[in-house]
């Protein structure tokens, strides 16, 4: 009967109920979108790092424990050094990164070296490889985001680039240009951002790392460590930002439900009086209000989840490369719990206020 009372109350004021669902759903969507974008970026980066098929990455000596794309700090000569002098290294490849609009990077590669190292890009359209200095390869997502087609010119880094090929996402870079050209544009001739190493046997990773660290001041990590650095939990600020958004979710849920239920209690003063005249206890009245808040919270969560699919569609349609969002169902219960906490807290004051209504005054309420 409590369920029927709650559902009939919600049906009785459909616009109020819908608005409450919507407003409660917004923070759920915010949380799920943020998590989805962070996970999408993280997983995309991990996929591109794995796609290189390297065993070890060498970075500049100032590289930190969390991953960051700093200025090119590794002399290119180390590419040859690693390949010829370091035991167990089969191949080495140096690349340079140039940050565009974060999280997008332009990556400078030596096409022959890249092909030899990784087996090359998978081409979806256009020519295979960079030939002219200002040729650029873009992946399908960046091409979609910028509406680029083979043969078009695109301006990046104060330079017009000629789109010569569309590549499949998932290997090293979204935007690839010639290494020497990007080095020149960045005034970093002879420098690279990182060097990838492929070993004769991945089991020799420790020996290789030890050798390079003993003989140079470079920072060396296995690719597994690098991939782990891309994990969303290891990206600075994301977790903290997520907590802030969750806090906002609780506050918004609290405020929306508090306001909505306060109005509902005012509107239903007489009905509360009727229930009390029938012998409804204070706890019975409070239970109805809290149950309604829980239903609002659950409905808001479901709507928020649906809206997160909408947000995902919008993001994938308009900025698929910059914000590669994915749906993360494991966060649905968390977002729902955040909302329910806010909803129940928000319903407490109106609920207690309703429970304390004097039955005679409530029955006389017009």
């Amino acid at each position: 009967m409590t369920a029927k009372l709650v559902l009939e109350n919600l049906k009785h004021k459909p616009m109020r109920s819908l608005l409450s669902f919507l407003l409660i759903g917004v923070p759920v969507t915010l949380i799920l979108t943020l998590v989805g974008v962070a996970r999408g970026m993280s997983e995309g980066s991990q996929q591109r790092a794995r796609g290189v098929t390297a065993d070890i990455m060498v970075r500049g000596s100032n590289a930190g424990n969390t991953f960051s794309f700093g200025s090119p700090a590794v002399p290119q000569a180390y590419v040859n050094y690693c390949e010829t002098k370091v035991p167990h290294v089969k191949m080495a490849m140096g690349v340079i990164n140039h940050a565009l609009d974060l999280p997008l990077f332009m990556t400078g590669i030596d096409q022959d070296q890249f092909n030899r190292f990784t087996g090359g890009f998978h081409y979806l359209a256009g020519q295979h490889g960079l030939r002219e200095p200002y040729d650029v390869l873009v992946d399908e997502l960046y091409a979609k985001q910028r509406k680029l087609q083979v043969g078009q010119t695109v301006r990046m880094v104060n330079q017009d680039w000629h789109v010569v090929g569309i590549i499949r996402s998932g290997k090293l870079a979204r935007i690839a240009v010639q290494l020497s050209v990007l080095q020149h544009l960045d005034s970093a001739d002879g420098m690279v951002s990182q060097i990838y190493l492929k070993l004769d046997d991945p089991a020799n990773s420790d020996a290789v790392i030890q050798y390079i660290e003993e003989h140079t001041s470079l920072k060396v990590n296995t690719m597994d460590e690098i991939v782990a650095m891309y994990d969303v939990n290891n990206i600075q600020g994301v977790t903290e930002f997520l907590y802030v958004v969750m806090g906002i979710g609780v506050i918004v849920g609290f405020a929306v439900v508090c306001l909505s239920m306060y109005m509902a209690v005012l509107q239903r003063t007489r009905e509360i009086g009727i229930l009390k005249s029938l012998g409804g206890s204070n706890s019975f009245i409070l239970r109805i209000i809290l149950a309604e808040a829980v239903v609002l919270g659950l409905g808001g969560t479901v709507l928020g989840i649906l809206m997160s699919y909408g947000a995902c569609w919008l993001i994938r349609t308009f900025v698929p490369a910059s914000l590669p969002m994915i749906i993360v169902p494991s966060w649905w219960p968390i977002a729902g719990a955040v909302t329910l906490v806010g909803a129940v807290l928000g319903a407490l004051y109106p609920g207690l206020s309703a429970a304390r209504h004097d039955p005679i005054e409530a029955l006389a309420y017009e």
């Binding site: 009939e8 009785h12 009905e271 009727i274 005249s277 029938l278 029955l363």
Partner: protein, 227 residues
């Protein structure tokens, strides 16, 4: 039951505090009602009849004096105790029907059973009563689809669904036309005669009061005459 009375008040007083002013609503009411009686309480506005009704119904505590309803000393009852009294011992019928607008007639009756903790098994006797009330075919309608007379009959059904010892009716015909008023009064009389239902009815209407076996006249918070 003390001395065979289902309701017994002695020197019952109630004073409301309106700001800093004390407003006496009952100034010493002595009333005794035996089980199965049908009493009408009449009097002008402000005579204290509604306050008496509210105290006997456990909606508000008295300020002084004693009041016993079905062997319970209401003056000593806590708010929770008065809530329990309203669940099972008294049933209310109001002038404005006071049905829950979001629920069907059937659910309005069911909610009273639910609150009282009664099981949801159908009661053949109650079904028969619904037939007599003439609302069996209207149970799946919400109050806004029912006429005033039908709403009041649903309210009567709700008030007695838990077989209360006392039925308190506050101006039950106040919002009804003559035909529906007569129907409701006939129902109350029938409930009293057939089922021995104790009824206290507040009314302004002399014709309604005439349906009861006894009429109590109130003025200025006191009973001035019993006819």
């Amino acid at each position: 039951m003390s001395d065979g009375y289902i309701i017994e008040t002695r020197d019952l007083r109630k004073t409301y505090h309106v700001g800093k002013v004390d407003v006496p609503a009952l100034r010493g009411v002595d009333l005794r009602v035996k089980p199965g009686e049908f009493l009408a309480i009449v009097g002008p506005s402000g005579s204290g009849k509604s306050t008496l009704f509210h105290i006997i119904g456990g909606l508000t505590p008295p300020t002084a004096g004693s009041v016993r309803v079905a062997d319970q000393d209401l003056a000593a009852l806590s708010e929770a105790g008065r809530t329990r009294l309203r669940k099972r011992t008294v049933g209310f019928v109001f002038q404005k029907f006071n049905l829950l607008p979001n629920l069907t007639a059937r659910d309005n009756i069911a909610v009273a059973r639910y609150i009282a903790g009664a099981d949801s098994k159908p009661d053949p006797k109650f079904d028969e009563l619904l037939q007599r009330l003439g609302i069996s075919h209207r149970l799946d309608h919400k109050p806004n689809s029912l006429s005033g007379g039908e709403q009041q009959r649903v309210a009567i059904a709700r008030s007695i669904v838990n077989h209360p010892a006392i039925l308190l009716a506050d101006e039950p015909t106040g919002n009804l036309d003559t035909e529906n008023s007569k129907a409701v009064l006939d129902i109350l009389r029938d409930l009293n005669e057939r089922m021995g239902q104790t009824i206290l009815m507040i009314t302004h209407n002399p014709e309604a009061a005439a349906v009861a076996y006894q009429t109590i006249h109130m003025l200025d918070g006191r009973i001035i005459e019993t006819t």
